[in-house]
Each structure stands twice: as structure tokens, then as C-alpha cells.
């Protein structure tokens, strides 16, 4: 799966934002039509069926609605990762132009912060409600865990009130090597998973299943928890570090935000997504040769050798290196 970054601008400043450095350092550029058409061809030639639109906040792109319609016309299923905060006119555009699209072709993942734990201006919260009120049935809730005492309760109310899709995208806030962004540390994983499963009764009552995003280590789940996850997720259960390919407006590629400063390439150096994935898979292997996983016991772990678990995210591993080591890894 490829992520197309439409703009580096965002309307929010989340304390855990792992894209912040990439977004701040990026030139103030938006994805052009020419590049979008090139990417649609590139992805189609690679046999891709789905594409994700990210930012910054992708709906800030002046042609956001046009781009979604274009990609749908090109037979892609489109996922939009949004914070739901947008101007009334942009929301009207979404309703008017995207409202006819089937929820199979277009899906929003709305990244929600608990207003009691993550301070946000009331005006932004209001806008999120307005977005969900209009586009709730196209939207899947998303939540990033950046503190161990995270509180998910508000999400159940959102799902119920706005008829959102009943699958929660649960991500871990990842460290950005060399910065001090808030994130979950390896020693906090167990506590995070325990707290997560304390919501099991609510998840079951609201029939909300969730899939853990990349970076969760399998060894921190009990067999019972794994069984429940397997059942509720329809058997789709992975503990890999899935480095999605991110493509920026200036056509740079890298494998996931936290690693955006390492081994950045131009998409024009590749013929298809498979080649890019292979290249970054090689980089990840190189990283894991230095440090196999986030715990000492990852070294020689049978789950790792079977490829069931990647022993946490590569970003966590790189974060353990010194600054000097990062320079070495970047190949500069």
C-alpha cells in the first residue's frame, strides 16, 4: 500500500505527531496534478488497487475533492487519513462531490484525540463533530496511543452517534529518531496492552473490533488476548513492522514517517512499488542486523524467525542508536 502525501500543512499539533519533523522540514509544497497522474500510473502499473491520501492534513489540498474523484475514476479504492478539521466550504465540497461514492471505494480514517487528555481548541472539536456528522458512515475511527493511561471511552460515543465504521484503527505513537516526540517506549508496551484489553467489554458491547497497527510485539499479548483479537479481527492479525511507502509532493519516497530522514529516495529511481518495497525491506533488514528487536529477548525469538512478529517497529530500533549511528545508517 502506498501513501500519497498531498500537503505538508496540518491544522493540528498533536503532542505525539511523528510526522511533525518531516512536515516542518518539507518545502511548502502540495501534490501537483502532473505528479498525481504519474503516481496513479505508477501504482496501476504496480498492480496496486488501493491508495491512501495523507498529509499534513490532506483535505487542506485545494484539489482534494478532485484528486479523490480522479483516483476513484482510475479504479483505486481510496483511504483518506484525516483529522476531520476543515473549513465549512471544504466540508460542503465533500458532501456534495464525494457523498455519492460508495463506502467501499472511499474510506476516511479520522484520527481522534480524547479531548480530556489532549488539549485542543473547542473550535477544532466542533469541526470534527461537523465532519463526522456529514461523513460518519464513510469513516473509521483512528486513535494513536502516546501515553499509557490513554482513554478510549469517547470513541464509543462517537461511533454510536455518527454511525462510524465499526473498526478502530489503533496506532502506537512512534518515536522519531533524534527528536523528543511523545511515544510509547518498549518497556511500556505491556501496560498499554493491558489497558487496551480493559476496554474489551465495551469493544464487544459496541461491536467495535480493532486491528493493532505496526509496532506491537506479539510476546506482550496473552494467548487469550491473541485469541480474542484473532476472532474479532476476522483472522487478520499481524505484528510486523509494515513500512508503508510514503510519497511526498516533491516525489520523494521513504518507508514511514519516523524513518523519513533515512534513505530518502526519488520515486523516479524505481519502476514499480515492488522495487521500492524491496529496497526498504533491505534497509529494515540492515537495521535489524544491528538490533534485532526492541527487547533483548527478540534476538533468537522463534516468532521473529518465523516472520510472525518483527519485534517492534524499526523506528524504535533506530531510536536506540546514537546520533552518530544514524548518520552511519543513512549512508551519508
Amino acid at each position: 500500500m502506498a501513501n500519497i502525501l498531498l500537503t505538508s500543512k496540518c491544522t493540528r499539533s498533536c503532542p505525539y505527531c511523528f510526522a511533525e519533523r518531516e512536515m516542518t522540514d518539507s518545502p511548502d509544497e502540495v501534490m501537483s496534478w502532473e505528479n498525481l497522474v504519474y503516481l496513479a500510473d505508477f501504482l496501476a502499473a504496480s498492480g496496486e488497487k488501493s491508495v491512501s491520501l495523507l498529509g499534513g492534513e490532506p483535505t487542506l489540498h485545494p484539489h482534494f475533492v478532485d484528486y479523490v474523484l480522479y483516483l476513484v475514476e482510475r479504479n483505486f479504492n481510496v483511504n483518506v487519513f484525516t483529522n476531520g478539521i476543515m473549513s465549512p466550504s471544504r466540508l460542503t465540497e465533500l458532501k456534495d462531490y464525494l457523498g455519492a461514492l460508495s463506502a467501499d471505494r472511499l474510506r476516511f480514517v479520522c484520527n481522534l484525540n480524547n479531548p480530556r487528555q489532549t488539549e485542543e481548541p473547542e473550535s477544532q472539536t466542533k469541526k470534527i463533530h461537523e465532519f463526522l456528522s456529514a461523513m460518519g458512515s464513510w469513516t473509521q475511527p483512528g486513535f494513536n496511543i502516546y501515553r499509557v493511561d490513554f482513554d478510549l471511552e469517547f470513541i464509543f460515543e462517537f461511533v454510536q452517534r455518527y454511525g462510524m465504521k465499526r473498526r478502530l484503527r489503533l496506532g502506537l505513537a512512534h518515536p522519531v529518531p533524534g527528536t523528543s516526540s511523545m511515544h510509547i517506549k518498549p518497556q511500556e508496551m505491556g501496560e498499554v496492552i493491558e489497558r487496551l484489553f480493559s476496554y474489551r467489554p465495551l469493544l464487544e458491547r459496541f461491536q467495535l473490533d480493532f486491528g493493532p497497527d505496526c509496532g506491537f510485539p506479539i510476546c506482550k499479548f496473552t494467548d487469550e488476548q491473541l485469541g480474542w483479537l484473532y476472532r474479532s479481527g476476522g483472522g487478520d492479525l499481524r505484528f510486523e513492522c509494515n513500512s508503508a511507502i510514503d510519497i511526498t509532493p516533491d516525489m520523494s519516497v521513504y518507508a514511514c514517517f519516523p524513518l523519513s530522514k533515512l534513505y530518502r529516495k526519488s520515486i523516479f529511481e524505481f519502476d514499480n512499488i515492488g522495487q521500492i518495497a524491496e529496497f526498504y525491506s533491505g534497509i529494515h533488514k540492515k537495521i535489524r542486523k544491528e538490533v534485532p528487536g526492541i527487547y533483548p529477548e527478540c534476538d533468537g525469538c522463534i516468532q521473529m524467525s518465523k516472520g510472525i512478529c518483527s519485534g517492534g517497529g524499526s523506528c524504535q530500533l533506530v531510536n536506540r542508536f546514537t546520533d552518530e549511528d544514524i548518520v552511519r545508517l543513512s549512508g551519508n
Binding site: D41, D66, Y67
Partner: protein, 286 residues
């Protein structure tokens, strides 16, 4: 002298005056498309296409189901926002239609977008303010893109007619080729290109022009040779075989056009080599 195909304004009596001609009929309103096509088909002539001159962008044209099967050349000033184009695409893609746009930078971009979603297009470029780099990107896309897209003229036209041994007048992609087309007004006056017809630069009435091959027609057809006779800069340009001096810069220097046409010739050379290589028999056959 071979009978030229005629480009006429829609006028039933004008069409009725001809016999056994291939006619492209011009209308300025979508509501006249069927009527004009019917007038030609029901006369003693055959229909080349209906040229719909629209003052509105493509997204604002009301495409009708009855147009199915009628070859249509839609001349529009621009495309419009994709959000509005998207709503007309389902009807548009069912038609036997080609969208023709002037080569502004926005249109060069929009032609690529339309082509990528399956709408056949033409981009008309003349001298002056052509962005040769943007056009070169479009040409590369038209000729070498790896995934399916609809054709883009004149590049598709050139690729189908290109012969490395001779020059090619690809104005035919826009019905502008005096060897093949005459542009008429309602009084049957002949112009040798659409722009000349618009500017009312006629060379005579069709009956007179066709009685004997008009010297003006011959002069126009041979205009390329002046580049050599007058020792113009185009005569020594690598891209001459395709350009034929039609973009002679006012300052006498060949700038972007030279690189553009040279690159196109190079691409055709590469394509030809690939084609020849792939058509070589690998196993003997009886």
C-alpha cells in the same frame, strides 16, 4: 486531383449541394449535433465527423445519449474542474468523441488527466507561447506511458503515420492539411486551414478551386521547401522532418521546438527498433 474532404458550417442546403463527399460539419450548439449528423448522413455524402465548437468548458457541455455512434470532435476552450468533469465522464466515455483543446499550460495538464481516464483528446499547438517542456512531457506520456490511456493527438496521429524516410504533415490530426481538407463557409469559399477560415482568408470558390489544382494550394503544400530555398534556421534543424518549419521562431532561433521535435523523432526511432525486435521470428515457421 483527389477530392478533398470538406469542413462545412451546418447548413442543410450547402450540404445538399455536394455529392459523394466526406464532410465534417460544424455546429456551435450541442442541440444541433444529431440534426447536423443526420443532414449529412441523409444527403448523398458521408459523415466524417461533427465538429462541436463550444464556448463552454468540457464539464459544462451537456452530453446526450443520442450522440452515441456519431463521430464528434469537441472543440472547447478548457476542461473545467475535475469534480465537474467526473459527473459527465460516464456519458462522455460512451461516445465516439474526441476533445480538442488549445495548448495552454492548464490544457496540456488536463489533456493528460482526461486521457488517463479514457477520454480521447487532441492538443492544438501553434507558434507563439507554447510551453515546449510541458508539451514534451505530454508527448512522452502519449507515446511511452506504461498503462492504458486514451489517445492524444497529434502524437497518436503522428505515430500512426510516421515514416522515417519522408516528412509528415500532421496538421491532418486537426483537419488542417490542404492536401486532404478544404474548409468552406456557407458561400462555398475555400480556406486552407481552420484558422484561415475563421479569419475569412479564402482562396476562391470551391468550384473554381477544384476545376484545376489551384496554384495557391500547391504553394501551400510545398511551403516547407522555402525553408531550404531561403536558408532558414529550420532547414538545418534535427526536428525538421516532423516540424517542417511550421514553428519558425520570430527571432529566427529555434528554441524549445527543435528539442521537442528532435526528441519525438528519437522516440519514434526507439519505438520502431522495439517493434522490429519484437516482430523477429524466434522459431522458424513454414
Amino acid at each position: 486531383m483527389s477530392l478533398r474532404k470538406l469542413i462545412c458550417p451546418y447548413d442543410p442546403s450547402l450540404i445538399g449541394d455536394f455529392c459523394n463527399r466526406e464532410i465534417a460539419v460544424q455546429v456551435d450548439s450541442p442541440s444541433l449535433v444529431c440534426e447536423a449528423a443526420g443532414a449529412v448522413v441523409n444527403s448523398a455524402n458521408s459523415l466524417l465527423c461533427v465538429i462541436l465548437d463550444s464556448v463552454d468548458p468540457v464539464c459544462a457541455v451537456s452530453f446526450e445519449d443520442q450522440w452515441k455512434g456519431i463521430p464528434i470532435l469537441l472543440m472547447a476552450p478548457s476542461v473545467g474542474e475535475f469534480r465537474n468533469v467526473a459527473s459527465v465522464l460516464p456519458s462522455l466515455k460512451k461516445l465516439n468523441l474526441r476533445v480538442c483543446l488549445p495548448a495552454s499550460n492548464d490544457n496540456i495538464r488536463d489533456v493528460r488527466i482526461l486521457s488517463s481516464v479514457g477520454v480521447h483528446c487532441s492538443i492544438m499547438f501553434e507558434g507563439g507561447n507554447v510551453d515546449w517542456d510541458a508539451l514534451s512531457d505530454l508527448m512522452t506520456y502519449a507515446l511511452l506511458a506504461r498503462v492504458f490511456h486514451a489517445t492524444i493527438d497529434p502524437f497518436d496521429y503522428i505515430s500512426r503515420h510516421y515514416n522515417s524516410l519522408t516528412h509528415l504533415n500532421w496538421g491532418g490530426a486537426f483537419l488542417d492539411d490542404p492536401e486532404k481538407y478544404f474548409h468552406l463557409d456557407k458561400e462555398k469559399n475555400v480556406a486552407l486551414s481552420s484558422s484561415e477560415a475563421l479569419a475569412k482568408q479564402f482562396i476562391g470558390r470551391i468550384d473554381d478551386v477544384e476545376k484545376t489544382e489551384s496554384p495557391e494550394v500547391q504553394r501551400r503544400c510545398d511551403a516547407w521547401s522555402l525553408n531550404f530555398l531561403e536558408n532558414r534556421v529550420c532547414a538545418t534543424c534535427d526536428g525538421f522532418k516532423l516540424c517542417m518549419g511550421r514553428f519558425l521562431p520570430k527571432n529566427g532561433k529555434a528554441d524549445g521546438c527543435s528539442a521537442f521535435f528532435s526528441e519525438m523523432i528519437e522516440i519514434f526511432g526507439d519505438l520502431k527498433a522495439v517493434k522490429e525486435k519484437s516482430s523477429k521470428e524466434e522459431v522458424w515457421r513454414l
